[in-house]
Each structure stands twice: as C-alpha cells, then as structure tokens.
C-alpha cells in the first residue's frame, strides 16, 4: 500500500469513499450534502465510467435525441461546491479491510473510515457459443448505446435476446435505427416478470403490430459468426435460425459483487452483497446500496426507487441519524414502445385465497387485472395498453377500494363511473413512488407550508419530479386541498374573466372577436361586463388580438382604435418606461450584427439628445432618458438611418443573439450569424404571453448561450439542434433538446410550430420554461404536437406564423407617418410643446442619470424650477 493519498485524514475529518458513481451513488452524494456530511468529511468517489452519473432509466431517450449531457444527473458545480473528489474512469480494483484502504486501477490508494459500494449490476450474457463475436452487445451504458448506434449503420437485421423490460426497450431502439428486429424470449410470454399471461398476450399483439417479430418459448442456441468473427446468424433452441448482423443480450442483470467477494464480505447465494436494515454489510465500516445489494428481505432490487431509499438510509447512518430499509414495492409504470404497461403489488396473485377481476380487449390491446384479497382488499394488479388508473390504484393497495373492483377496470365510457379521484385515498397512500411522498405530505405542503401551486408543491416535496407519472394525481390533490382550505382555485385570468389566457385565445380565435369590449361583454364575469376591464386582462387580450390580428382581419398596429387603451405604457409609447418617467429606446440590431455607419448614427443620436448609452445582454444598444415628446424625434433619425423597432417594450420577440460562427471562427461549423438574422427578422414583432429570447451558436462550444433562451439553436456538423424552454433570470433553466440535425427549413418550420403552440396555450406572463414544466406531458407532449403532429395542429400553426411574417410592419415607421398617432407623444395635453419638468438628469461617469431629488418631495415646485410663475 504505497503512497496512500490521505492528505487530510485526521480523526476530526473522516474519509468516506464511494465506489461506483451511478444513479444511486449520485443520489447518495446528494443525501450526504443535504445532511451537511460533506462539510465534515472528505468524500472520494471512484467512478468506472468515463462520465459522471447519468439517468440510466432514460438511457433509451438517447435515440430520441437526448444527448449524453442531457442525461447527466450531476448538476454543474455540484462536486466543487461540496468539495467532493471525483475520479472518472478509475474503477476500484481491490479493498483491504484490515488497513481500510481501497485501490483503484490507476494505482491510487485511499484510506477510508467508511466505504460505500454502489457498483450496480452487469448485464447477464447467457453462455451460448459465439457470444463474444463482433456484433454482440449489451444494453447498459451510454458507451454501449454509442457502439450499437455505430454498428447498426451497417446492419439490416438485429436480434434482442430477452423479452423483458429492457429487451423491449432495446428492440424499440433497434427498430428506430431502421433494423428489422426480432425478440427472442425464453419464457412463454413477454415481460414475464411484470405481467401475467393475459397481459403478455395483449402486449405481444401490440408489439407485433408495430412490425417487430416475437419468438417466445425459445432460447438462443448458438451465435453463428462468419469471416473475421462477425455475427451472421443466430440458431434457436427449436432448430430455427434467424439471419442477423447484430445481437443485443438483454437477459437480465446480476449484482456486481466481485469486489465484495474478493475482500471477504458476505454475499448471497445467488449474488448480491448482504446488508442489514441500515445498509451495512458484514463489515460495519462498509455499506452497500443500489442494485449490488442484497436487502434484509432477501431481495436484490433492480429498480431505481428502492436504490434511492437505500442511498437515503446509508446517508442517515453516516450522519448519525436513524433510517432503515426493509424492502420496497416493485410497482412499475412504463411506456414501452409506446404502450403503457404497469404492474403493482401482488401482480401475479400469489396471496392465498385471492381472486382476479379481469378486463381484456385484445382488439385494442387493453388488458387489466386486479388481484383482490379475501376481505375485498386490493392486493395488486396488471395494466397493459391503458394504465391511466395506475396513479390511483397503486396507493389503494392494501385497502378496500371505495368502488367495486369491476368498476375500476372498465374503460371510460363503458359504464365506468366517474373516475375515482385521489380524494378517496388515505393520507398514508404514497402518491409519488420515486420520492416516496405520501398524500399526507402533499396536503401539508399546501396547508402548513402554504404552497399555492403545483410547481411550488413539487419544489417543496419533490413529488412529481422523478418519472412524472403521478403529476396528474398530484395536481388534482393540490387543487382539492386548496379548495378545502378556502383558497378558491379560480383559474380565471383576473376579476373580469373566469377563463385562462389559453381559453381566451381560443374564444378570440374561433369567434373572431376583434375588440376587448366585445369579449368582455360576451364572456366576462357578470359583474365585470360593461365595465372597463383591468390592468391584467387588457394587455393580455391586447396581445392575443395582436398575435391573431392578421388571421382575424384586425389591424395589427398596436396604437390603433381600441387597442390603444389596452396596451401598457411601454407598448403605448413603443419605448420602455424608466423610474423617473423617462423612456429608453432600443433599435433592432438583428443577430447583433451592425455596420460602422449605423453604429455612428446611434452614437450621434445619443449625443444629440443627451441619452445615457449602454450595451444590453442581448447584443444591442439601449438609449436611456428620452422624454415622451422626444421619442418621435429620436426615432425619425433612427428610421432614417435604416433602423426599426426592437420591441424591447413588448411581450414579444426580443433578440436572437449569435456568436460569430463559421465565417470567422476556427471552430464554427455553421453560419450562426446568418441564421440568427433570419430568425430575428422572421419573428420580430410577434406578440406572445411573455418576452421571447433566442440565440444561435455556431458550434457545440455554445458561445451564444443558446440553452439559456426560450428557443436556442446550436450548430452541428449535420445542421442544427433546437433547444426549447431555457431561461436566465432568477430561476435559470437550461433549454431541452427538441430535435436535432435539422436543415434550415426543418428548423424554421419547427420553431414556427413551437412558438405558435406556446402562444396558443401558455398562461399570461408564463415564460416557455414555466409553460413546459406546467403543461400535461411536458416536453414529450410538446414534441408529440410540434414534431409528430399528434393533434393535427401543425398546418394551422404554420399558417398562423406565415400570416404573421407576411403582415409584419415596423411600428415606429408607421407611427412617424401618421400625424394622428404622433399627436399622442406629448408630455401635456394642454401644453404640447412643454417638456415635463420632473424629467431631469444629473451627470455621472461622463453620461447622465435621473435626477431623483426632483421626485423625492411630496410635490414638485415646478414654477421655481422653470423660473415661470403663473
């Protein structure tokens, strides 16, 4: 044990070593940090894979466009913030329990006070001859997927050995890569572990309809390799043969317990490191958690939720707190190849004296079974094809359901009573299985922690932030609870309308209403009709009418007719109000590209009007300190020089930022500046529920910070990746990948659809980030709608955008050409030529700033200031 790397090990600062940085390992680190243990202890992590922990559960989404970075579970800066030493690509090779040291492949040796093993599982590969041929793969890590993707490029057919959960996922992936795909399953049915025979045949039918070939009740006998040891075929136990280029083994997993065996820790007969209820192994200084552990109930859990429980318990033990893991629920709900599959509780009916209630419709691939105990209590069930009821049924397990079981399995519309609400559940029913959150905890988040919305409850309890399958139940619980505690959950926009913004949008669009008054008088709350509306609904409706104007045949100009009264002051004066009543001016500089001549004009205008000048975060220039009456004069000069409104004042597209791109940058792979300009000119003036920001980066280095934008575009060598829902500000959020490797046309079409779908369905002042988090189904739903056209809306969305692009006019140029409109730009109606004396400035750093002393007093002595007396 030479050169032990133990710089800080003193009794006061113990060392914790974690072996394995997978899903459970990462969760364990977070739990340690939550308990403050990372401040008291040195934490060293040995990670075998070349990258930090990622979401293995979502692994297959790599083929749907999620990048390895998207899958990461390790928040940027997490390790640094908590002083955790992470060694990537350096697996542990030996443990010496006498000297309490762990040695890694690199030769690094670390002394530990506590050791935690989170080594996960390895895929089991049946011992068939030829299993090591080129073209044979397993399906466990990102590297496996990269290899499969590469090899599949030159393959026509693929075989997946194993028809369980993972096998079906792998088969779906191969199909998606364009291969003719076979599934070979030794058991008589698919997903034998989770579903019963009836469920298996419903599943099989649906899977076959998708064009996959299913072979059950047979095993692989031999893999036939041709020249150079490359797979050419697979022979099956029934004597048949499948010609194939590629084989994926997905025949189950085995705990990775070799390290533990080698150092003499107790392991189970069939594998797994034996642990007690505190997750301690046979050596009290060593813990094991996750898929490598054999829990005290004699089981090895191959699911992530029980692993997370163990991570919590081990962190408790290290923090000196109580916690125990005695076993977990094996319930699962998955969408496999687009089919909902769920099983929970005693799905196979192994309890003595239990009875089944079954609903089966193989025509539509629906199969539902509930297992009922002797006392009428729900013991478990299987749902295939329609797993809507899972969120309700699983928490009811163990109790007598409030409805007869046969009513619980009937499909909606077939005599089923109104859906059973989560209000029927007991308080200790677990609503979020991923984070083990009970109904009681959700209720108290509302009543005791005064969370008033679903996102707040999610933040407070973590419920709904794992797999997301409980969000629907969560939402209705939160609403019930709010209602019960007297908070009326009026989803109405304001005191004038009982509708949400999205509903008002639909009303305006379908009834083709072009004025606020019409809408208020026909759809407002009774007490608000014939009134004046309010400061909330007027601009909201104004924005809806403006974004639909070309389609409605209304005038899109925001200063016209009744529209004038709907806009807040910024939109009314086409400038941004500042604290002393002056305005700032932002001309559009598309993509941040500007000629020296135009730059000079901006400088001259600013100098001549004495405006404070500042570069904005959106790659343009803001000119501050203009009085209302100066706005037209300033703009006359700017429009003359070829500038147009930058809409900095509107809930509208602001800027499309860009890096310099391929044209100049040695790393650039696409012309990001040209794309940014195209996008900015296309969407300029588009009114939306909130401001919209965008950026285009010319390569993966991402200098334009596109992932911090509502829609961000990042160049790839094949085209463009489109990210949506990003946000800077107080609650930053990285944008999610919507689609990748798009050509110019595809990119623009997708953004058209995305923006119009957002405008149509978002709430007032709801940025795309909050909208994506709120709407049912989240990003996946939005992708379904705008990429796969699941609602058949895309043509309409594209037409709306085409109308917008076609009818765009510069608001400032129009204003300058219209004396009637210009007449509004005065400080005083009865003294059009008089400047507002309260808008004054004092010098600062060679420019000006508002003179706030003028605003400080109770009233302003105007006369003395101006030297005029009346």
């Amino acid at each position: 044990m030479a050169a032990a790397a133990t710089p800080n090990t003193t009794p006061a600062r113990p060392t914790i070593v974690l072996v394995g940085h997978g899903m459970v390992g990462q969760r364990f680190l977070e739990e340690l940090a939550d308990r403050g243990v990372t401040e008291r202890a040195r934490v060293v992590v040995l990670c075998e894979e070349p990258r930090p922990a990622y979401d293995r559960v979502q692994l297959t989404s790599y083929f749907a466009g999620r990048t390895p970075e998207d899958l990461s579970l390790t928040e940027a800066g997490f390790m640094e913030r908590h002083g955790i030493e992470l060694h990537l690509g350096d697996p542990a090779t030996a443990i010496d329990r006498d000297t309490r040291t762990v040695t890694a492949r690199s030769g690094l040796t670390v002394r530990y006070d506590s050791l935690v093993l989170a080594t996960g599982s390895y895929p089991f590969v049946p011992p068939v001859p030829g299993k090591d041929s080129t073209g044979c793969f397993v399906y466990r890590t990102i590297e496996d997927l990269l290899d499969i993707e590469e090899y599949a490029k030159n393959s026509g057919t693929g075989v997946v050995v194993g028809g369980g959960l993972l096998g079906l996922e792998a088969a779906g992936a191969l199909k998606g890569l364009g291969l003719t795909t076979h599934i070979v399953e030794f058991n008589p049915r698919l997903m034998a572990l989770q579903v019963d025979e009836g469920g298996g045949s419903a599943l099989r039918r649906t899977v076959e309809e998708m064009g996959l070939e299913v072979h059950t009740g047979v095993g692989g006998k031999e893999i036939v390799a041709g020249d150079g040891g490359t797979v050419t075929a697979m022979e099956l136990s029934d004597g048949s043969r499948i010609d194939t280029d590629l084989v994926i083994f997905s025949a189950g997993v085995r705990p990775r317990d070799q390290l533990a065996r080698d150092c003499g820790l107790t392991v189970g007969e069939r594998g797994g490191i034996t642990i007690d209820e505190q997750c301690r192994t046979s050596d009290p200084a060593v813990y094991a958690i996750g898929e490598c552990a054999l829990a005290s109930d004699g089981r090895v859990y191959g699911l992530v939720a029980p692993g997370y429980d163990m991570a919590r318990v081990a962190a408790d033990a290290l923090a000196g707190q109580d916690g125990s893991f005695t076993g977990a629920d094996l319930s699962t709900k998955l969408k496999l190849l687009g089919v909902d599959v769920a099983s929970f509780g005693d799905a196979h009916g192994t309890t003595e004296g239990c009875l089944d209630v079954v609903y089966s419709d193989s025509r539509s691939g629906v199969y539902k079974k509930l297992v009922i105990g002797a006392e009428g209590e729900l013991l478990g069930g299987v749902l295939v094809g329609d797993a809507e009821a899972y969120g309700m049924l699983r928490p009811l397990t163990g109790s007598v359901p409030p409805l007869a079981p046969e009513q619980l399995v009937l499909p909606a519309g077939a005599g089923a009573p109104a859906a059973l609400g989560p209000s029927a559940l007991p308080d200790d029913a677990v609503i979020c299985n991923c984070h083990n959150v009970t109904k009681g905890a959700i209720r108290s988040a509302v009543t005791e922690h005064s969370c008033g919305t679903v996102p707040e409850v999610k933040k407070c309890t973590k419920a709904g932030t794992g797999c997301g399958s409980c969000v629907k139940a969560l939402t209705s619980l939160v609403n019930d609870e709010l209602e019960a505690s007297g908070v009326s959950v009026d989803k109405g926009l304001c005191g004038c309308f009982p509708h949400t913004r999205a509903e008002l949008y639909e009303i305006v669009r379908t009834l083709r209403l072009t004025t606020f008054a019409e809408l208020l008088d026909s759809h407002g709350r009774p007490e608000a009709r014939d009134g004046d509306g309010c400061e909330v609904c007027k601009p909201t409706v104004g924005s809806i009418i403006a974004s639909l104007a070309p389609t409605l045949g209304a005038d899109g100009y925001v200063l016209d007719g009744e529209q004038a009264a709907l806009q807040d002051t910024n939109d009314h004066f086409l400038a941004n109000l500042q604290k002393n009543g002056s305005y700032s001016i932002v001309p559009r500089i598309p993509g941040g590209e500007i000629t020296p001549e135009k730059l000079i004009v901006i400088g001259e205008v600013a100098r001549d009007f004495g405006l404070y000048t500042k570069i904005t975060g959106g790659q343009r220039i803001d000119l501050f300190g203009a009085r209302v009456d100066q706005l037209p004069q300033v703009w006359a000069r700017l429009v003359d020089a070829g500038f147009e409104s930058g809409h900095a004042y509107g809930k509208a597209l602001r800027t499309v930022k860009s890096c310099v791109g391929q044209t100049w940058c040695r790393y650039g792979v696409q012309d990001s500046v040209r794309m940014a300009i195209d996008l900015e000119l296309r969407y300029r003036g588009l009114r939306s529920p909130h401001k919209l920001k965008s950026a285009v980066s010319g390569c993966a280095r991402e200098c334009a910070e596109a992932r911090g934008k509502d829609f961000g575009v990042i160049a790839t060598s094949n085209g463009w990746n489109l990210y949506v829902g990003g946000n800077g500000g107080a609650d930053p959020r990285h944008a999610d990948l919507l689609a990748q490797d798009l050509d110019d046309e595809e990119l623009i079409r997708l953004i058209d659809r995305f923006l119009m779908f957002y405008i149509r369905t978002a709430d007032r002042l709801e940025r795309t980030s909050a909208w994506l988090e709120r709407i049912d189904g989240g990003l996946d739903h939005v992708r379904d709608v705008v990429v796969h056209d699941s609602l058949g809306l895309c043509d309409e969305l594209e037409a709306l955008m085409a109308d917008h692009v076609h009818h765009y006019r510069d608001e400032w140029a129009e204003t300058l050409n219209d004396p009637e409109r210009l007449s509004r730009f005065v400080s005083f109606v009865n003294a059009p030529d008089a400047p507002d004396p309260s808008v004054r400035f004092v010098p600062e750093r060679d420019q000006v700033k508002p003179d706030l002393t003028l605003l400080a007093g109770p009233t302003l002595p105007v006369r003395t200031l101006e030297g005029t007396s009346v």
């Binding site: 004046d532 309010c534 003294a831 030529d833």
Partner: protein
Amino acid sequence: MTTALTPDAAVGSRTPGADAQDATATVEIFGPQGWFAVCAREDLIPGRGVAALLPDGEQVALFVDRAGRAYAIANRDPFTGAYVLSRGLTGSSANRPFVASPLLKQRFDLATGECLDDPSVSVRAYQVRVRGEEG
C-alpha cells in the same frame, strides 16, 4: 426642446368660450383658481389617460372611462415620486374606476384618489366636468 413652461399661453386657445364657439365639448378641471379648461373631449381615448398642467404648475392625470365619464387625479405616483399616473392602465373593480401605476402597479381610485392596495396612501382627486357636450 427648451421651450419655457408657460401653461397659460399653451392653453390659451382652449378657453371655454372658444370651445363653445366651435361646439366641441371641453373638459374642465376645478383647480386652485376655479374651473380650468384643459382639452377637447375628443382628445381623450376611453380607457387611456393624458397629463395636463394646471395654472399653478401642478400636473394632473385625466381619464375618461368607457361610459364617457371623466376623472382627474394628481399625476404624481406617491410610491416612486415620478409623474406617471396618467400613463397607467385603467380598469374597474367592483364598479370603482381605477388606474394602475405603470411603475410599481399600485391602483388608485379615479374618483377619490385612494390607493386600493394601501389605504394609508392617496393622491389628490380633482373635480372634472365636460362642457358643451349637448352643443
């Protein structure tokens, strides 16, 4: 834009007499020196405000609602000190007409000047009348 501030001169062409002559309705505010004509009725857009100067240099925010009723309150937003209330959005709440400050959004009753969001704050309300409407 350095015109000296001479409210009298500026409004001189809009005396009640002059307006009555061309039969246009005139909006008048009751200021320190009695009724004072400010502008023509048609200068006001329902639901929007304008600022006006009184002879003593005070700034007034003037509004008409959808039903054509006119209101005037002080233009100074007491929360920020800026003279901006005339540029706020108007509305009605429980039949009380109000304007919301464009800066920090507090609402003021147009008839009484009371702040609806903070009863300890109010701004001055002025009497307004529209003359010559029938003419």
